[in-house]
């Protein structure tokens, strides 16, 4: 079953075309890695799919299952099952992680006609998740990303992913800025999210993360296009030869 279906998508930022026609189909159970140098358009693609302001869709379509993502507001896309792990997670001072996540979970549940989650069950699950990601349970009381280190922020994104249980996760450079221990922890979280029902798009610079999370497909993005697709071995080849190998 196709979870995410992107057809000939063109995206501009301030009148300049950044994404110049992308096709991507993510089937349930698959992990796709998108690799590419800085400025190739990777974050533009994920942010625009999530519905951030400032991105103009010029052409093409993007569906999550039967839902036309481009017709939905940001929160409706989230409620349809789309999750974006941010490259630079922002702070919400004074808004505790617990409050933030409970509000998010309840918003998703209400959109699906469910009652709010019981606080007891929610807290139990959340504490386990935090432990799994090697985070201090104290962070649950702290403001979202408030005073967090870079590594804590990235791991907190994975806590949110596992807590909100979307259908499709777009992970925007979740591996950048992580030391090797944190990288393995994050990889463990991503593998836990992986299931026959979910799809994952991993955006990364390096193949480092892919050592721990084996992708089914690797796509190379250059100048707003996916110029080469292959299996996991493509990442290794890239690592050896560099992006210049694919230019021209």
């Amino acid at each position: 079953m196709t979870l995410l279906d992107i057809v000939d998508l063109h995206i501009s930022v301030e009148e300049r075309e950044i994404i110049k026609g992308i096709d991507l189909q993510v089937e349930a159970g698959e992990i796709h890695a998108i690799m590419g140098p800085n400025g190739s358009g990777k974050s533009t693609l994920t942010n625009a799919l999530a519905g951030q302001e400032g991105y103009q869709i010029n052409h093409g379509s993007a569906h999550l299952e039967d839902k036309d993502l481009l017709e939905l507001s940001v929160e409706e896309r989230a409620r349809a099952g789309l999750f974006l792990a941010f490259q630079y997670p922002v702070e919400l001072p004074g808004v505790s992680n617990v409050e933030f996540l409970k509000t998010a979970v309840d918003s998703l549940r209400r959109a699906n006609g469910l009652d709010d989650i019981s606080t007891v069950n929610f807290m139990k699950e959340l504490r386990q998740l935090v432990k799994k990601l090697d985070l201090d349970p104290e962070i649950l009381k702290r403001g979202v990303n408030e005073g967090f280190s870079g590594g804590e922020r990235k791991r907190n994104e994975i806590v949110q992913l596992l807590c909100l249980k979307p259908r499709v996760a777009l992970l925007d450079e979740t591996d950048s800025g992580l030391d090797i221990d944190a990288l393995q922890t994050v990889a463990r979280g991503i593998k836990e999210f992986r299931s026959p029902r979910t799809g994952i798009v991993l955006v990364t610079h390096y193949q480092r993360l892919l050592e721990f999370v084996q992708p089914d497909y690797v796509h190379v993005m250059l100048d707003g296009r996916l110029v080469r697709s292959g299996d996991a071995s493509l990442a290794l080849e890239l690592e050896a030869k560099g992006y210049a190998w694919l230019e021209n």
Binding site: Y55, I57, V95
Partner: protein, 489 residues
């Protein structure tokens, strides 16, 4: 191709004010206008003793010589004091007990969520495990009922309407009335001293910890009327009291004046905690109507080691002009001011505090959180004064502004006057905006933009909400949500 709808937080739509209904009862009021005769008439209607009548008349003459303050960062047309009615009360014999109160009025308080039945409150205790709150309900110019008076009396606590205190505790009243806020303090305190109608009176005897929260709920109902209440709280040596006040008014296209005076006195080792949730009608989204809230609140830490703490959540009123202050006279006394002021649409607020350090080793803390949305203007104005005799005085001030959208304004006017070299005065200030990235994060997790803004604003106010009694904190946070309605498009 459809462009993603912009979700900027600055688009202002309609605002919902849930307390804006009118109670249909017959009211008797004095015709609009102000003169010595009117002042004497108010005193007569309230069957006051001569000393109080003369006190009022004296205040009226002082008021005539005074000018309206113009220094605040506020803009509004001149107020015609002859067009206001200075006294309004429900028609008929004043009720002697709750059973005699007009059911319409009782319903009003029920609708507003204010419990006036003691039994109900007690039943609620079992259900929700909340502690009972004693309520004095002031409706236009008169107090309608005061609950738990007998329970409180057993502890020696006096909690009654101001009018009742004039009758039953004239000595205490005479001793303290106008001692913290003198008649001439300012234009509005002089006006209030001349025409004040009702309010609450509290006396906590030596060594007594008041067994429950005390509260007064002010409601303006009649049109073209001003509300001028007075509150006086005296905490005798070693006593402790927590007092809450709330206020609402119907939605009307005309502006209405509210000019109150609150005086607090804390003797040796006494503590007064005074919390306000101010939700007067703020006017509509075009800036029509709303209450002009010109209030003088001041506490006197008269005794050594005494402690006065103000917490205010100001979401209502078209105009707020209010500076709850503390005079730190007793050695080692402590003054605190915690404030959340939110303005939306065309609301204007000029609010803050004055901490006057007179005693040795006195300490004050000011935490002010201003939130501006829509086309509103929000100013913090504060004065920290270290007098020549105040050895080792300390102040810490933190003053944060949060802006929602690009058409609102935030101002900070902090004044520091230190006459001593050994005093320590710290001032921290920040101004931030609810960013698009923060909104995007919340929405990407499935949260509505309205909910996201209120969550971010609540987070910003957390330090102040923490100082409120539990139930009030919840009410305050709900109120913020309502007041912010329409602040995002």
């Amino acid at each position: 191709m459809k462009l993603q709808e912009p979700r900027k937080p600055e688009e202002v739509l309609a605002q919902e004010y849930t307390a804006g209904f009118v109670t249909n009862i017959e009211t008797e009021s004095l015709p609009p206008g102000l003169s010595e005769e009117v002042v004497r008439k108010i005193s007569e209607l309230k069957s006051e003793p001569e000393w109080l009548t003369e006190w009022r008349v004296d205040a009226f003459h002082k008021w005539l010589e005074m000018e309206e303050p113009k220094w605040a960062h506020l803009e509004y047309p001149a107020i015609d004091f002859q067009k206001i009615s200075y006294f309004a009360r429900p028609k008929g014999e004043p009720p002697k007990s709750l059973d005699e109160v007009d059911p319409e009025i009782l319903q009003t308080y029920e609708k507003l969520g204010i419990p006036l039945h003691e039994q109900k409150m007690l039943a609620g205790v079992v259900e929700t495990e909340t502690t009972p709150v004693a309520v004095d309900a002031v409706f236009d110019s008169v107090s309608i009922a005061t609950t738990f008076k007998n329970t409180l009396r057993e502890h020696g606590v006096i909690f009654c309407s101001f009018s009742e205190a004039v009758e039953s505790h004239p000595d205490l009243l005479r001793q303290y009335l106008g001692k913290v806020v003198p008649i001439r303090d300012n234009f509005y305190s002089a006006l209030n001293s001349a025409v004040f109608s009702d309010g609450s009176f509290v006396y906590i005897p030596k060594g007594v910890r008041c067994p429950m929260e005390l509260s007064t709920y002010f409601r303006i109902n009649a049109a073209n009327t001003g509300q001028f209440e007075r509150t006086l709280i005296i905490a005798d040596e070693g006593s402790h009291v927590s007092y809450l006040e709330g206020c609402t008014a119907p939605m009307r296209d005309e502006n209405q004046l509210h000019a109150a005076v609150v005086e607090l006195i804390a003797l040796d080792d006494a503590e007064i905690k005074y919390s306000t949730v101010q939700n007067w009608y703020p006017g509509d989204e075009h800036g029509r109507g709303g209450i002009y809230n010109f209030v003088t609140k001041r506490g006197m830490c008269r005794g050594a080691r005494s402690h006065i703490s103000w917490t205010q959540v100001e979401t209502g009123s078209a105009i707020t002009w209010k500076y709850p202050s503390v005079i730190l006279r007793g050695d080692h006394s402590v003054g605190e001011f915690y404030s959340v002021a939110l303005t939306n649409n065309h609301q204007q607020a000029d609010t803050g505090t004055k901490m006057t350090h007179i005693g040795n080793n006195t300490k004050s803390t000011i935490i002010s959180k201003g939130i501006s949305a829509g086309k509103s203007s929000n100013a913090y104005r504060g004065l920290v004064r270290m007098n020549p005799g105040a050895r080792n005085a300390r102040n810490f001030t933190q003053c944060d502004s949060l802006l929602i959208g690009s058409e609102c304004a935030a101002h900070t006017f902090p004044y520091i006057e230190s006459k001593r070299r050994d005093s320590i005065v710290e001032h921290e200030a920040t101004a931030t905006r609810v960013s698009e990235d923060q909104m995007f994060l919340c929405q990407q997790r499935g949260i509505d933009p309205e909910k996201a803004v209120s969550m971010i604003v609540n987070g910003f106010c957390k330090e102040v909400f923490r100082t409120l009694p539990m139930e009030f904190a919840m009410e305050a946070s709900k109120l913020l949500e309502v007041s912010l309605e329409g602040a995002v498009g």
